[in-house]
Point group: C2
DNA sequence: GGCTTTGTTGATTATTTTGGTCAACAAAGT
DNA sequence: ACTTTGTTGACCAAAATAATCAACAAAGCC
């Protein structure tokens, strides 16, 4: 039940773009460096995101990528679906028609509930939520650093 | 985010044992045949379940395995944990201490919520629930078969 | 006591998936 | 023309997965 590198890298990359929302085009190279993602791998990662109209891109000097929609309009469920495919724990939950088990086996139902539970979280989370959470986290992190620095000065 | 064969096979095998609860020892061979699991694979599958005291086993003729506890006392969360390890979508959710990201990256929090959502379902589902769901499903399936047979007779 | 049946364990294998690279190409500036 | 950037497809190595084989251990049966 682990997310693959696509899912992890992909969300980080999109969060990076969301944090730079409104600043025009961001070179992929920069995203790769900041998020510590191999550039050639990132290039492949985002292909489905571009195809789905989540990201727009321009080539050439001063080119790069940026979000095509406001971070608020991009749900994590959509993103993960594009990056990882369905989040259903088993195949048969996605197309029950082609699996006879769906009518007969009880576990099938549970995996369906698990899928719904996951979807509940991802469907209600947007890139904007990530941005806000991120800035909050960084603020408190900086706070802690200041605190430590302050104490160091006192002991000095 | 897919379950591996261990998880799928394992829950099916346990449901099979739960359906035979109170009937003494069941040969692994029978479970393997009914659930269409390669016998040597099943043998390895259940090792952690035996170690955890969910299943008891006896060798020799008339030997086999059976649940060690009442199906009602066996939660799916426990089972999946043993079969698949943690259901957390990313490593860092399990031991945040050893991952610096947990303090800094927003996605981390979301994966934590996803884990909690999955856990909510699995924690509240026992083998007994599966048994009841299974018998209900089989009853309605039989019902449908009868209905079809009845119609066939009418048209004949 | 030997033999058969069943579960236990560990090593080994084939296949698939994953994560990543390389190289050729396409477009957009300068 | 040339450089910079994104796009595409082929390719590769390593890891995980699914499964098998073989040796062994215990429990019952004759």
């Amino acid at each position: 039940m682990k997310l693959s590198a696509k899912g992890r890298y992909g969300t980080r990359a999109l969060l990076d773009l969301a944090l730079h929302w409104g600043e025009g085009l961001v070179p992929l190279k920069d995203v790769a460096r900041r998020q510590e993602i191999p550039l050639p791998y990132l290039e492949h990662l985002i292909a489905p995101l571009i195809a789905a109209g989540i990201i727009k891109s321009t080539r050439g000097p001063r080119g790069g990528v940026s979000l095509f929609k406001h971070p608020e309009e991009i749900k994590l469920s959509e993103v993960i679906q594009l990056l990882e495919g369905s989040i259903a724990p088993v195949e048969c939950v996605d197309n029950p028609k082609s699996y006879p088990c769906s009518n007969l086996c009880a576990p099938h139902d549970i995996w369906g509930e698990v899928k719904k539970a996951i979807d509940g979280v991802l469907e209600s989370t947007t890139l904007q939520d990530l941005v806000e959470r991120q800035t909050r986290k960084e603020a408190t992190a900086r706070c802690k650093v200041r605190e430590v620095v302050y104490r160091l000065r006192l002991t000095k």
